[in-house]
């Protein structure tokens, strides 16, 4: 590509950050406008990319490769495929909306928006890197602004939450570093992911460390790293706290984008590089998915803090993604080469990642809206708001119904595809997991009833209706939720070739040979 | 012979005053002996035919940096204190480490097969340095000037009291 579109995507926010650094702090309006322009341009670039992306081609497009640290064979290597493109779109969209969500921030505005843009760069970099080392660097770059955004602009327990988030994720990063180096040396000193995908399966065949299969050790290390991000039970406890304490826009980014990095990492790194590991672990993954679904839903049902409820619902929803990912083994000869199921599961997983990003972003923005007005989030402390805020309650209803997987809204289709994919292989697990649908509906409807229905709580007799700026942040998401619920093909068409490629890689695993 | 004697005298001055800088209990004494170290080093430059650098050394270090340091001492200590003393920490282990490093460095210097090229003694380096600065090293020179300016502003801003 002539104009290095991917580099623009990554570095535009940094340009914005530098511009912000030059603006005196007395002019918050200009700072906000610069941030909005930077992310807006990024969104525009990603949409251009979306249009120009060749949907039929296998492999990475718009590649950029520059030597970075030649002595270690490290490159500045970018590329985009059907898996990373939806994630990049999600990142750009949520970052752009996040700026408007945080319009009312009044504490250290300059620092906030500068960090927010840095975070944006980190996330975009993770999704577009094709060099493992670069991936790792962006992965870490993202942590720092997140730490400060939670730790400075968060709620009452912000410092505890920030440090917990930081340590949890750092722990994962350490394991990823080890796994990365192990792969680097096994693949003959390369960090190039496209190379590693080809070399790693052969290189790790039969290698053992202290009597353990190296492959399994690396897989577990990577898995824990990504599991913390997803988060998968039992590595999930940072999430409710961080979400609850973070400012609204940061919660949106956390739930909307950061969680996807866990599953993205699994699909980008673990699956293609360690197909044997993927197959070996698929059963456990399905069980963990089940636990995530049920556990998350039950915890959500128990919450009285609205934001915590939404946070646990994320755990629940990411469970569906994992379930879809576990379905990849259906493509193996052992399971009758059921490509239909494997494709349904894998595509469903990525679709669900995307859709969950939009839905959960809506949910967090909506929680922020009511919090700004009532200054608390206690579900039982509201009541009957539906009379006073008809538009707001309508949008919440849309988001809640999307969250509980109502057909016609985007939450349903991904979930259903994950179930369809996993069913032929993991019948019992899927049947138990469908209970999650019921629990989903219970906690959302129950919460909805307690907040909006029933008699009006007199305390909120003159609570103001949602305003134009807030609506502006919600409308694009709502449109996506409805459109993709009715017609998911635009996103599926982008990702399907890539997902089929990953399925084919995993399919070749010797563990899937017929008995 | 005289030159040799002068050389060793300068070396002695430099090393001893440098030692005094790091060992003295009195901060003012340290500063003053630092002056002698700088002058000694300027002398060593002269011995190496680096007249311009020697002059720069004297002007900037002695005239600039040292004055700054003494200002710093004055500003951060009540001047009425007769002895501006200061303690040291972890001297034992510090000395041990320093000596080990020195041993390592000396061994390295002695055992390394340096490629020595005896260039003819230059007659005045100023003109050459000037040309180099204006032609080959123009960009670094300009960057350095911007850096100086930035540091100046930054230092002034930092040292301002009360905000």
């Amino acid at each position: 590509m002539d104009w290095n579109i991917l580099s623009w995507l990554i570095w535009l926010p940094v340009v914005g950050m530098v511009a912000i650094a030059l603006i005196p702090r007395e002019k918050p309006e200009i700072i906000k406008i610069i941030a909005a322009v930077a992310t807006g341009l990024q969104l525009w670039v990603v949409i251009m990319l979306w249009i120009q992306f060749d949907r039929g081609a296998v492999g990475f497009q718009f590649q950029e490769k520059l030597a970075w640290i030649p002595s270690f064979n490290i490159h500045y290597f970018l590329g985009v495929d059907g898996l990373s493109l939806p994630m990049a779109l999600l990142t750009a969209l949520l970052s752009f909306l996040g700026i408007f969500v945080s319009w009312k921030i009044d504490k250290a505005v300059k620092g906030y928006f500068a960090l927010f843009l840095l975070l944006d760069t980190g996330m975009m970099g993770v999704f577009l890197s094709l060099d493992f080392f670069l991936f790792y660097v962006f992965w870490e770059v993202m942590l720092l602004p997140m730490y400060f955004l939670i730790g400075i602009w968060g709620g009452p327990q912000r410092e505890y939450a920030a440090i917990k988030f930081f340590l949890y994720t750092l722990a994962g990063s350490v394991l990823m570093l080890v796994a990365m180096l192990a792969l680097y040396f096994s693949c003959g000193r390369t960090f190039d992911m496209t190379q590693m995908i080809v070399l790693a399966p052969e290189a790790l065949k039969g290698v053992t460390w202290w009597g353990l299969d190296t492959l399994k050790v690396i897989w577990i290390f990577l898995f824990i790293t990504f599991a913390i991000k997803v988060p998968i039970f039992p590595f999930h406890t940072w999430l409710p706290l961080a979400h609850v304490e973070a400012p609204t826009a940061v919660s949106v980014i956390l739930a909307g984008v950061l969680l996807k990095m866990g599953t993205y990492g699994l699909l980008r790194i673990s699956y293609p590089m360690l197909p044997d590991g993927a197959v070996w672990f698929a059963g456990a993954l399905a069980i963990l998915a089940l636990i995530n679904i049920i556990w998350g839903a039950l915890c959500a049902l128990a919450q009285t803090d609205l934001k915590k409820l939404v946070a646990y619902s994320s755990i629940n929803h990411m469970g569906y993604v994992l379930l879809g990912m576990a379905a990849v083994v259906a493509a193996g000869a052992q399971h009758g080469t059921n490509m239909t199921a494997a494709q349904a599961g894998m595509n469903g997983a990525v679709l669900q990642m995307f859709n969950h990003g939009t839905i959960t972003a809506m949910l967090f923005i909506l929680v922020g809206v009511v919090y700004d007005r009532a200054h608390h989030r206690d579900i039982d402390g509201f009541g009957g708001l539906g009379v006073k805020m008809p538009i707001y309650s309508g949008v919440v209803a849309l988001a809640f119904f999307a969250g509980l997987g109502l057909p016609g809204l985007s939450g349903f289709i991904g979930e259903a595809m994950c179930f369809i994919g996993a069913f032929p292989v993991y019948k019992l697990i899927v049947i138990i997991a469908t209970l999650g649908i019921l629990l989903n509906a219970s906690y959302f409807l129950w919460a909805y009833q307690r907040i909006f229905l029933g008699g009006l709580n007199e305390k909120y007799a003159d609570i103001p209706e949602i305003n134009g700026r807030e609506l502006f942040t919600l409308v694009p998401l709502a449109v996506l939720v409805v459109l993709l619920g009715v017609y998911p093909a635009p996103v599926l068409n982008v990702m399907k070739v890539t997902m089929n490629y990953i399925i084919e890689i995993v399919q070749t695993s010797s563990l899937l040979a017929p008995h | 012979m005289a030159a040799t004697l002068i050389f060793w005298a300068i070396v002695l001055l430099t090393v001893v005053s440098a030692a005094w800088v790091v060992l003295s209990q009195n901060l003012i004494y340290s500063a003053v002996s630092l002056l002698f170290t700088f002058i000694g080093i300027a002398g060593l430059y002269v011995f190496m035919m680096a007249d311009f650098i020697a002059a720069t050394q004297v002007v900037i270090y002695v005239g600039g940096i040292l004055v700054l340091i003494i200002f710093g001492i004055m500003l951060t200590h009540r001047i009425t204190h007769v002895r501006i003393s200061h303690k040291s920490v972890q001297r034992g282990i510090g000395a041990l480490g320093a000596i080990l490093i020195l041993m390592g460095l000396v061994k390295m210097i002695i055992t390394s097969p340096w490629r020595v090229i005896h260039s003819p003694d230059p007659v005045g380096t100023t003109a050459g340095i000037g040309k180099l600065l204006m032609i080959d090293y123009l960009l670094p020179f300009e960057v350095a000037s911007v850096l100086l300016l930035a540091a100046l502003i930054g230092a002034a801003r930092l040292a301002r009291k009360g905000d």
């Binding site: 750092l170 349904a344 009379v387 409807l445 | 972890q90």
Partner: protein, 682 residues
């Protein structure tokens, strides 16, 4: 594009458009936009009538249009959705359009002045859209989607007056209970999809015929699909939501909870009839039969006019399910059609009565008395002549009295059941359920009529304020009552006992594709033979029921209280709906809430607090012990620098042991350099 498909899609587009308009700009339109929704539904009604007329003219029992388009394609997996239009579809579309149209018109009067008037019509349009979607779907996937969407509109409409806690509760309950059934249905869809690799009905039938799915797996899949119908059609044990759903506005009860949506379950199993195994059908028959009798028993003792009707709806739906289970699915669908007319009529009448009561109590400044309680009513027959007449006609129809539509369809069902029992004597319980429910139906329906329109009200003065409802409300009543007369269903014959009307002719039973099931012809033969005995028995039981009600509630020859006392425990069970709600609350809902609280506690207050933070605590403790025991300057530093990163990992508190002294760090850097030197030298 096939013009019929175009017409079919209008059934979806028009109401959807109306819904969108109502939600976004409804409030700003003149008359709050009710004409948008009404116009949309009346247009669909016109198309439905046209299609119906064309169907009658062409007179082709095998008429069928089935078109699919690709929804998305993943390479090996292509999902197609599309439309299926055949005679069943057309009949259903007409039913939906007629009832929905009348409900729209009726609502103009009933909902006048409501603050969320335009939203109400928006929701009605949404419902019409999704219901038409179910009817038009040619595949399980989109049927499931519309299935949930009708659930949504039902939720929204039940909880329409959400300021009332009971309404909000009822809406939630309806949605959740339906979801239980939907989960079953979803698993069923998964099973069918895994077996046949497609969602399309045609592929499904073909797959089952080719044995892609067979034996007990097919039975289980069928029962799972049926679970969806159990939820939606309020069959035992998921019937509990329907009576509560009466919290919604009465026209909604008529449309959704009597005539159309609840019948969707029946429609589903009718559509999928060919793939149910004998075992699955038996389960269906028993569930339906039991529900019919069970809820009829409950209906006898209820005092809320709408609740009586709700339980009667459950009971009638049980009939339809029973019919499908016994193989007489054509009869079941027939009953669905006739029931839609007379039950919607009954609800409209009750709405008219409640409207009048409301008005009267309002005039009397009485806000305590329940305007829906039968015991407060009585003697309205002279005040509300139209309502009385139409309600009487509908009641006669539901009781299965000759010359009424209900007689025809009920008779067909009972004949089917009887025939089934003759074939399989081990299932003789089924006709007992059927006839038992029939006698009770006649009894409680006439009890309702007598208590409402005869006798005396609890407060005599309210009679002065009872008025007939406005014509916008009574017109639909008259139309529906007219549609309850036999002639509309027996044409081209005018014989009220005929079982050969256009309907029986145009909707032909289809052979089951499951190997070993009886053929449609066999079933039809059986029904034909059982026709006469069934008719005679049903006449007797209907007469008996009406006579009993006459004795107890009009002539007061038998005291209702005494009878209740004599029945003792049976009465108590019936009056309390067999304590189903309490049982669910106590053994299902409460434990799940408690369980979720326990899990939440476990997750947050135990797991996170003690295990995760425990790591931090242990690390902190460990470091402190070592720090005290050993030389602070040396070992502590080592822990900070060497283990620092890994200790970081676990604990927020760990930063306390960082000295923060730069020179310490520098010293260690120095140490590192020395070590490198030494290594280099050696």
């Amino acid at each position: 594009m096939d013009v019929r498909i175009l017409y079919g899609s209008l059934f979806l587009i028009l109401p959807l458009l109306a819904f969108v308009i109502q939600i976004f700009v409804g409030n700003r339109l003149p008359r709050k936009g009710d004409w948008v929704s009404i116009g949309a539904v009346l247009l669909t009604l016109c198309i439905a009538i046209a299609m119906f007329a064309v169907m009658l003219v062409y007179d082709d029992p095998h008429f069928k249009v089935d078109k699919s388009i690709e929804w998305f394609n993943l390479g090996s997996w292509t999902v197609e959705i599309g439309m299926l239009i055949d005679n069943i579809t057309i009949v259903m579309l007409l039913v939906v359009a007629v009832v929905s149209g009348l409900v729209h018109i009726y609502s103009v009067g009933y909902m006048a002045g409501d603050p969320r008037y335009s939203r109400y019509f928006g929701y009605l349009s949404l419902f019409t859209f999704s219901m038409n979607g179910i009817v038009l779907s040619n595949n399980l996937f989109s049927i499931y989607m519309f299935w949930e969407l009708v659930g949504l509109s039902s939720y929204l409409l039940i909880g329409f007056w959400f300021e009332k806690d009971s309404a909000a509760d009822a809406g939630k309950k309806a949605f959740l209970v339906n979801r239980i059934g939907d989960i079953g249905m979803f698993i069923g869809i998964l099973l069918f999809f895994t077996g046949t690799g497609s969602f399309l009905f045609t592929d499904l039938f073909e797959g089952v015929a080719n044995g892609a799915l067979s034996g007990s797996l097919l039975t289980i899949a069928g029962i799972c699909i049926f679970l969806g119908a159990v939820g939606k059609s309020a069959q035992f044990p998921l019937h509990v939501w329907l009576p509560d759903a009466m919290e919604g506005p009465t026209p909604v009860s008529a449309l959704i909870h009597a005539a159309t949506m609840v019948a969707a379950g029946v429609y589903l199993i009718v559509r999928l009839f060919p793939i149910f195994t004998v075992d699955a059908l038996t389960v269906i028959a028993y569930v339906g039969g039991f529900t019919a009798l069970f809820s009829a028993i409950i209906a006898v003792t209820q005092n809320d006019i709408k609740r009586v009707l709700a339980y009667s709806t459950v009971s009638q739906l049980g009939y339809m399910v029973l019919a499908v289970g016994t193989g007489a699915y054509v009869a079941g669908l027939f009953h669905l059609v006739t029931h839609a007319a007379f039950k919607a009529g009954l609800f409209f009448c009750s709405g008219s009565v409640i409207h009048a009561m409301h008005h009267a109590y309002h005039k009397l400044n009485d806000h305590e008395s329940d305007p829906q309680d039968l015991r407060n009513m009585g003697g309205f027959k002279d005040k509300m002549k139209i309502t009385y007449t139409t309600m009487l006609i509908a009641t006669l129809a539901i009781s299965g009295v000759p010359f009424m539509s209900g007689f025809l369809s009920k008779d067909a069902i009972l004949a089917g059941t009887l025939a089934f029992a003759q074939h399989h004597p081990e299932h003789s319980l089924l006709p007992v359920f059927g006839f038992g429910a029939a006698i009770l139906t006649a009894f409680y329906m006439f009890r309702l009529i007598f208590m409402t329109f005869h006798g005396k009200p609890a407060r005599r003065e309210i009679l002065d304020h009872i008025h007939e409802s406005p014509s916008v409300m009574t017109t639909p009543l008259v139309i529906l009552a007219t549609l309850s007369i036999f002639i509309f269903y027996t044409l081209p014959f005018a014989n009220p006992f005929s079982d050969h009307g256009w309907y029986m002719h145009l909707v032909e039973p289809v052979n089951s594709v499951v190997a070993g099931n009886p053929t449609a012809h066999e079933i039809e033969e059986g029904i034909h033979h059982a026709h006469l005995p069934a008719m005679i028995i049903s006449l007797i039981v209907a007469g008996l029921g009406i006579f009993l009600a006459f004795l107890v509630y009009l002539r007061k020859r038998i005291s209702a209280e005494k009878m209740a006392q004599r029945m003792g425990i049976m009465y108590k069970f019936s009056f309390n709906k067999f304590f189903m709600d309490e049982i669910y609350q106590k053994y299902l809902v409460n434990p799940s809430i408690i369980f979720s609280k326990a899990v939440g506690f476990l997750d947050w207050d135990l797991y996170d607090k003690y295990i995760i933070n425990g790591f931090a605590w242990v690390t902190k403790r460990l470091s402190r012990i070592i720090g005290i025991k050993y030389d602070y300057d040396i070992l502590d530093q080592k822990i900070v620098d060497g283990v620092g990163r890994s200790t970081h990992f676990f604990g927020a508190g760990l930063r306390l042991i960082q000295t923060g002294k730069l020179q310490n760090y520098l010293l260690w850097v120095l140490g590192g350099i020395i070590i490198i030197f030494i290594i280099q030298v050696m």
